[in-house]
C-alpha cells in the first residue's frame, strides 16, 4: 500500500477496505432499486437518487474520515453527555415524533428540516457508556451494586425508551450490551437474572400492548409475528414472498447489476430489503461477499480487542462492531425469512440518510481505535488492568 494512503487513512486497512467496498455496493444497489421511487416522486429521474446517494456516501465517508482522526479518548467523557441527551430526545420522539411508516422513530431538527432517528444517537451513546462503565468498574465488576447496577440501569432505560416505537432496535441494542457485559466479565448469575427480568418485563409489555391493539405499532407486530409463525400468505407476508422471489431468481451469480425485476414489487427495496436485491443482482456469490464483509469487520475488531492495552477502547471497538454486525444479520435474516419482518437497514449499504451517518461514525470510531493502537500507546490516566487469567 502506498504511503500516500497510509499518510491520510490511518487505522486498520482491512476495515477501511470493508467500508469502501460496502459503500460502492451501496451505490450500485441503491441506484438500481430506487427506480420505482424515482418514477413515483421525481418523474423518472433516476439520477436524482444516484446523486443523492453519492452525496450521502461522500458525507458518510467524510464522517468516517473525520471521526477516525479524533482520538477515541474524547468519547470517554462524551458518552455520559450523549447518554444524558439521548433520554429526553427519545422521550420527545415517543410523544411528538414524526411518523414514517406508522412508526414514530423520527425527530426533526428544528429549522433544518432534517429528520433523524433518535435511537441511532442513543445506540452510539449507550455503547460508549457501557464501554466506559465496564472499563471503569473492571475491579468491582463481579459485585452487584458496584459493577452490575450502574450498567443495567442505563441499558434498561434506553432500551425501554426505544422499545415502543422500534422493537427490533431495542432488542438488538439490548443483545449487543448483553454480549459486551458477558465479555466484560460481569457476573453470569446477574446477567442471567437480568435476562430473566427483561423477559418478564417484555411479557408485561406485550400484555399491556395487547390492550391497545389498535394503537401504534402493536397491530403491525402482531400481524408480522402471526404471519411468520403461520407461514400464511397474508398481506404482511407479501414482502417476504417477493423477497424470496428476488433471491430465488438471482441464482448463483445473479442477474447482473441493475437487472433486478423484483425491485418493482418489493416495498423498501433500497433499505429493509436491499439484501434481497443484492442477491437478485449479484447472486449467492454477491450475498456471501456482503456477509463476509461484515464478518471480516467483526473479526478485525476482535483483533483490536485482542491487541488492546486499554479496556475502554477495546470494549468500544468490540461493541460498535458487534452492533453493526448484528444489525446486518437481522437485515439479512428478514430478507431470507428466518425471522419476522422488521425494519433494520443494512449498515452502510441501505439508502437512508442519517442512519448512514451514524453507522459511518461507528466505523470511524473503530478505525480511530485501531489507528491509536498502531502507535505505541502512552499511559493516559486510565488504569491498566492486571491480567489475572
Amino acid at each position: 500500500m502506498s504511503t500516500l494512503f497510509g499518510r491520510y487513512f490511518k487505522g486498520d486497512r482491512v476495515i477501511w477496505t470493508v467500508v469502501i467496498i460496502l459503500s460502492a455496493m451501496s451505490l450500485l444497489a441503491v441506484y438500481s432499486s430506487t427506480g420505482s421511487l424515482a418514477y413515483r416522486f421525481h418523474g423518472g429521474s433516476t439520477t436524482y437518487f444516484l446523486i443523492k446517494q453519492l452525496i450521502f456516501l461522500g458525507l458518510g465517508l467524510s464522517i468516517v474520515f473525520i471521526t477516525h482522526l479524533i482520538s477515541y479518548k474524547v468519547y470517554y467523557p462524551l458518552s455520559t453527555i450523549l447518554l444524558g441527551i439521548s433520554v429526553p430526545l427519545l422521550l420527545i420522539t415517543l410523544v411528538f415524533g414524526a411518523t414514517l411508516n406508522q412508526a414514530s422513530r423520527w425527530l426533526e431538527v428544528p429549522g433544518l428540516g432534517i429528520t433523524f432517528q433518535t435511537s441511532d444517537v442513543a445506540k452510539l451513546a449507550l455503547i460508549m457508556y457501557v464501554s466506559k462503565i465496564l472499563s471503569q468498574k473492571q475491579k468491582d465488576i463481579k459485585d452487584l451494586r458496584q459493577g452490575f447496577v450502574p450498567l443495567v440501569i442505563p441499558i434498561g432505560l434506553i432500551c425501554m425508551l426505544i422499545l415502543p416505537a422500534n422493537f427490533s432496535t431495542a432488542a438488538l441494542l439490548g443483545l449487543a450490551c448483553w454480549i459486551m457485559m458477558f465479555v466484560g466479565r460481569v457476573n453470569l448469575k446477574y446477567l442471567l437474572g437480568f435476562t430473566g427480568l427483561g423477559v418478564l418485563l417484555l411479557g408485561a409489555f406485550i400484555v399491556i400492548a395487547l390492550q391497545f391493539e389498535n394503537v401504534g405499532r402493536v397491530h403491525t407486530w402482531m400481524n408480522r409475528i402471526e404471519n411468520f409463525a403461520s407461514g400464511d400468505n397474508g398481506e404482511g407476508n407479501y414482502q417476504v414472498e417477493q423477497s424470496k422471489i428476488a433471491i430465488a431468481t438471482g441464482g448463483i451469480i445473479g442477474k447482473g447489476p441493475g437487472r433486478s425485476t423484483q425491485r418493482n414489487f418489493l416495498p423498501h427495496p433500497y433499505s429493509d430489503f436491499i439484501f434481497a436485491i443484492i442477491v437478485e443482482e449479484y447472486g449467492l456469490l454477491g450475498g456471501t461477499i456482503i456477509l463476509a464483509l461484515y464478518l471480516i469487520l467483526l473479526f478485525r475488531s476482535a483483533l483490536i480487542v485482542k491487541n488492546a492495552k486499554r479496556t475502554f477502547p477495546a470494549f468500544l471497538a468490540f461493541g460498535l462492531a458487534l452492533l453493526m454486525a448484528l444489525q446486518a444479520l437481522v437485515n439479512m435474516m428478514v430478507a431470507v425469512n428466518l425471522i419476522p419482518v422488521t425494519g433494520q437497514p443494512l449498515p452502510l449499504v441501505s439508502m437512508g440518510g442519517t442512519s448512514l451517518f451514524f453507522s459511518s461514525a461507528a466505523f470511524g470510531i473503530i478505525l480511530s481505535i485501531s489507528r491509536t493502537q498502531n502507535k505505541t500507546e502512552l499511559f493516559d490516566g486510565e488504569e491498566p488492568v492486571e491480567d489475572n487469567n
Partner: protein, 617 residues
C-alpha cells in the same frame, strides 16, 4: 493481554455469530436451489397468461344428427384500477339489470379470494347475446371493462339430458388435483360430458403478454414464441337414435321408470330413457345452479338416471335365466313338464295365476308359471353333485353373473351401479350357516327376493338371449373424431356360461309369450306387432314402494335381432299392461319408423301413472 476476556467466551460468541451467518447462507441456498416455488412466481409478476378457451366437442346421434352443440356467451370482465366513474344507470339497463344488482356484483368481486384491482376479473358471467349486442357498441365508453367470449352448451333436440350430463365450473378440489384446470374453467360434470371430458374439452391455448407493474399489457412476450393455440375438442358420435330416444321419452311422460334399447350385435345403446327426464337446456348458463336446485329437490328425482342407477327386482323376466341355467346344468329338459294348480305348495309356498297345466319349458315361459320355476330353481341348487347348498348356490351365482348381473357392465357413463346378486356369506349372516335351503330362498326362482338389477343390465340380458349366448358391453359412444376406435373393451365378446344351443327353447318361449293365439295363457300378446316377430317376457315385480313394477323385455325380429329392449315402469301394475306396449311401440318405431297402432300409442300417451306410487304404503 491485559483484558481478561477469556478465550472461551470469545469462541462462544464468534461461534454463535458464524453459525448465524452460515444459517443465512444455507437459507439463501435453499430458496435458490431447493425450493422452486418462487421462480414461477417471479414469472407471474411480469407475464400475463391469457387463456384461449377451445370450443367443446360436439355430440351427434348415430345418424349424424347434431344433439349437443355450442353457443357463445360473454363474460364481462373488469380491471378495477382502470375503471373510471361511469353512468351506472345506463350501464345496468343495457345489461338488463338494476343498479343495485350491478353494485352487488362489484361488491361480490371485491370479496373474491385473490382479488386484485390490477387483475382482470369476471364481473358478470355469461351475459346474454342481446345484452352483449347492446353493450358492444358503447363499451369504448366504459374503461376497464372487457368482454371475454366463452362457449356453453345448447341442445337442439332437448332430449337425453341424463346421457349427456352437463358442464359447469370446476371445483376447487379438481383444480388442486389436476393441474390442467384453473379456477373458472368448465368441466363435464355428469354423463358423456364427464366420461369423455378429456376428448371433449380440447386443449386450452395461452397467449403470453408482458405487463408492467400495473398489469397493463405491453405486448406479446418474446413475439409470441411461447404462445400456444387452443385445440378444439373432439366431436363424438353417440350410439343413440335421436328419434327413438325422443319417442321413448314421450311415451314415458307421466310415468316413472326407464327404457333401455340396445343393438344386440354391437352392444350399442339405441335409447336410454330415465323418466321423469328434464330439459337439458335447464342446466346451461347462469340459471344452472338455480335450476339444478329445483330439479334436485323434485320428489320424483328427475336428475337421477334410473337406467344405470336404479336397482329393481327383475321379476318374472328372471325366469329365463333360471331356465337357461337349468338346461345347462342338465336338471331341466325342454320337454320337462310340471303341473301347477295355482300354487307351488312346498314350504310357505309361492302363488301362481290361472293358466293351462301341465306346461313344458317353452309354454312355461309363455305363461310365466311360477310353480315351474320353483321346481327348476330348487333342482339347480340342490343338484346331487354338490355336497352342500353353498356349492350349489355358488354355482348358480356364477351362472347368473355371466349374464352381466351383479357387476358393473362398464358402460361409458359415470355412476353405473353394479346391482345385487346375493352371496353365500349374505345368507349365512342373514339366517345362519346351515340355516337356509333352496326353499328359504325360493323367491330367487321368480326374480324376487335379494336381487337388484339396473334396467341396463336387463336390456343387456335380453341382448345376450337375442345373440344366443354372448353380449358386447353396452356403450353410448361409437366414434370419437380423429380416433380409429373407441375403448377396446367395447369390442370384446362376453360369452355366457350357458351353451348357445339351449337358447332356442327360451327364444321360442318368448315368441309364444307374444305371438301365441288367444286362450293359450300367453302373457304378452299386447306386444305383438304385425309383420314383426317380437320375442318378449313380462314381469311384475313386487316392491316395498307401492303397486308392483311393470316390467317387460323383448327383442325383435326373432331370426335377425336388431333391437333388444327392457322397459321398467314403477308402480304401474302388470308387466303386460304398461311395459309391454311401450316396448312394442319402441320396437316398431325403430324397425319401421311408423306406428301401425295409433290407439295403443294414444292409450300410453294419455296414461298418468304417477299417482299410483305408494298407494299401498
Amino acid at each position: 493481554m491485559q483484558l481478561n476476556i477469556t478465550t472461551d467466551k470469545k469462541y462462544i460468541i464468534s461461534g454463535i455469530i458464524i453459525l448465524v451467518f452460515i444459517v443465512i447462507i444455507v437459507k439463501l441456498f435453499y430458496i435458490q436451489i431447493v425450493d422452486s416455488r418462487y421462480k414461477f412466481s417471479a414469472n407471474n409478476n411480469v407475464l400475463r397468461y391469457i387463456t384461449q378457451y377451445p370450443a367443446r366437442g360436439l355430440i351427434y346421434d348415430r345418424n349424424g344428427e347434431l344433439l349437443v352443440a355450442n353457443q357463445v356467451v360473454y363474460d364481462l370482465m373488469i380491471v378495477k384500477n382502470q375503471v373510471k366513474p361511469f353512468d351506472t344507470l345506463e350501464f345496468s339497463s343495457m345489461l338488463g339489470l338494476t343498479v343495485e344488482q350491478v353494485k352487488d356484483a362489484f361488491e361480490q368481486v371485491r370479496k373474491q379470494k385473490g382479488y386484485s384491482p390490477r387483475k382482470s376479473v369476471v364481473l358478470l358471467k355469461q351475459i346474454s347475446d342481446s345484452s352483449y349486442a347492446r353493450l358492444q357498441e358503447v363499451l369504448y365508453k366504459y374503461q376497464g371493462f372487457e368482454v371475454l367470449p366463452r362457449t356453453v352448451r345448447t341442445y337442439p333436440r332437448r332430449i337425453a339430458g341424463h346421457l349427456f350430463g352437463y358442464v359447469g365450473e370446476v371445483d376447487e378440489s379438481v383444480v388442486k388435483e389436476q393441474p390442467y384446470y384453473q379456477q373458472g374453467d368448465y368441466i363435464g360434470i355428469n354423463g358423456i360430458e364427464k366420461y369423455y371430458e378429456n376428448q371433449l374439452r380440447g386443449v386450452k391455448g395461452v397467449n403470453i403478454f408482458m405487463v408492467d407493474v400495473h398489469n397493463r399489457i405491453k405486448g406479446p412476450y418474446e413475439e409470441g414464441r411461447f404462445d400456444s393455440i387452443a385445440k378444439v375438442g373432439k366431436n363424438l358420435i353417440s350410439t343413440i337414435d335421436a328419434d327413438l330416444q325422443e319417442y321413448g321419452e314421450k311415451l314415458m311422460i307421466n310415468k316413472i321408470g326407464s327404457v333401455v334399447a340396445i343393438e344386440p350385435k354391437t352392444g350399442e345403446v339405441l335409447a336410454m330413457i330415465s323418466s321423469p327426464t328434464y330439459n337439458p337446456e335447464l342446466l346451461v348458463g347462469r340459471n344452472r345452479t338455480d335450476n339444478f336446485r329445483i330439479l334436485q329437490n323434485d320428489s320424483l328425482k328427475p336428475i337421477f338416471n334410473r337406467s344405470i342407477m336404479a336397482l329393481y327386482p327383475p321379476g318374472s323376466t328372471f325366469k329365463v335365466v333360471n331356465a337357461l341355467i337349468g338346461l345347462q346344468e342338465n336338471v331341466l329338459a325342454p320337454s320337462t313338464r310340471y303341473s301347477c294348480y295355482g300354487r307351488y305348495t312346498v314350504g310357505r309356498g309361492v302363488g301362481c295365476h290361472n293358466h293351462p297345466s301341465p306346461l313344458d319349458l317353452e309354454h312355461s315361459i309363455a305363461a310365466s308359471c311360477n310353480t315351474y320355476y320353483c321346481h327348476v330353481f330348487r333342482n339347480i341348487i340342490d343338484k346331487r353333485e354338490f355336497s352342500s347348498i353353498e356349492d350349489g348356490f355358488n354355482n348358480w351365482k356364477q351362472h347368473v353373473e355371466s349374464f352381466g348381473y351383479g357387476n358393473k357392465l362398464g358402460i361409458d357413463l359415470p355412476n353405473e351401479l353394479k346391482g345385487i346378486v346375493p352371496s353365500v356369506n349374505f345368507y349365512n349372516k342373514y339366517f345362519r350357516k346351515g340355516g337356509w335351503s333352496s326353499l328359504t330362498i325360493i323367491s330367487l326362482s321368480i326374480g324376487q327376493g335379494e336381487l337388484g338389477t339396473t334396467p341396463l343390465q336387463m336390456a343387456n340380458l335380453v341382448s345376450a338371449i337375442a345373440n344366443k349366448g354372448y353380449y358386447y358391453t353396452p356403450h353410448i359412444v361409437k366414434d370419437i373424431e380423429g380416433n380409429d376406435e373407441i375403448d377396446h373393451k367395447y369390442y370384446e365378446k362376453h360369452v355366457t356360461s350357458v351353451d348357445s344351443s339351449y337358447y332356442k327353447y327360451i327364444i321360442n318361449g318368448m315368441d309364444l309369450a307374444v305371438n301365441a293365439p288367444a286362450g293359450s295363457g300367453s302373457t304378452a300378446r299386447i306386444a305383438a306387432i304385425p309383420d314383426i316377430l317380437v320375442c318378449g317376457k313380462t314381469g311384475t315385480s313386487q316392491n316395498p314402494h307401492g303397486e308392483d313394477h311393470s316390467v317387460f323385455f323383448a327383442f325383435a325380429p326373432k331370426d335377425d335381432p336388431k333391437i333388444a329392449i327392457a322397459v321398467y315402469v314403477e308402480n304401474a301394475g302388470f308387466g303386460a299392461t304398461w311395459a309391454a306396449p311401450i316396448a312394442s311401440l319402441m320396437i316398431e318405431k325403430y324397425l319401421k319408423d311408423s306406428i301401425s297402432r295409433p290407439y295403443l300409442e294414444e292409450y300410453l300417451l294419455n296414461a298418468n301413472l304417477l299417482d299410483r306410487r305408494a298407494k299401498r304404503k
